[in-house]
Amino acid sequence: MSPRTRRKRTAADRQRFAPIFAALGDETRLALIATLADGTPRSIAQLTEGTRLTRQAVTKHLRVLEDVRIVHSVKSGRESRYELDVTPLLDLKSYVELVSARWDTALGRLKALVER
């Protein structure tokens, strides 16, 4: 990849990811995501349970996450359940970056071994 295309990609990525990162840049919302990360959809009542947050606060935070499509609601009887959808975060590029990070740590160990 030439430096020029790399710059272009980075600028495009930034544009795409900026609103998502802004939505994630909040401890409460990160905590909500961590709770939903097991894949189980939860109601607002369930998400409020065991926290110091009010239902209104949870609703507000969920709306921010819904706006960037990290979370969506599914109707279940009379109430809505919220489900995590990490697709906006996880594309091919982030997958390759994960593999790449694995290589970095493995190569660190290889270097230590051969330079011992």
Partner: protein, 152 residues
């Protein structure tokens, strides 16, 4: 091409030493954290137990392609094939190549490339990332760094 991984690393060790570290199955296992059952042989599948904490249930598998002494070692594999319940064997693999070049002063340049990510099914990418706590931790670090650098 843009989805390929390329790593270049200069090692303060002679090329023969580096070759041994990447192609001797015991030495490979030491830095790659896998207990391989037998030496690498071109055309053969190498297997072993993953030694990463939390992934001990996983059998590491790779098919050795080429072994050109002190020049090229390559294999294909399923990156992050970590779920015992999933049969990855019908899915496309990526190709990993280790290329060695001697440098002055008994040093060695190691270039590793991994290619073929386009073939990995989208749902598998998601699985790998979701299941990988390191991946999540990294995402969070990315987020924090990004947010710190771009205060609204």
């Amino acid at each position: 091409m843009s989805n390929d991984i390329e790593k270049r690393i200069e090692l303060d060790a002679p090329i023969s030493r580096v070759w041994r570290a990447i192609t001797d199955y015991r030495e490979f296992g030491e830095w790659f954290r896998v207990r391989l059952e037998a030496p690498f042989t071109p055309g053969q599948e190498a297997r072993g137990a993953v030694l990463h904490p939390g992934y001990e249930h996983v059998t590491w598998k790779a098919t050795v392609k080429e072994m050109q002494a002190e020049r090229l070692f390559s294999f294909t594999w399923h990156p992050f094939a970590v779920d015992k319940a999933v049969d990855y064997s019908s899915e496309p693999t990526t190709l990993v190549e280790f290329r060695l070049e001697p440098l002055a002063g008994d040093r060695t340049l190691l270039v590793i490339t991994e290619s073929g990510f386009e073939g990995i099914p989208a749902h598998r990418r998601h699985d790998a990332l979701l299941r990988n706590d390191q991946g999540w931790a990294q995402q969070i670090v990315n987020v924090k760094e990004y947010v710190a650098a771009h205060p609204s």
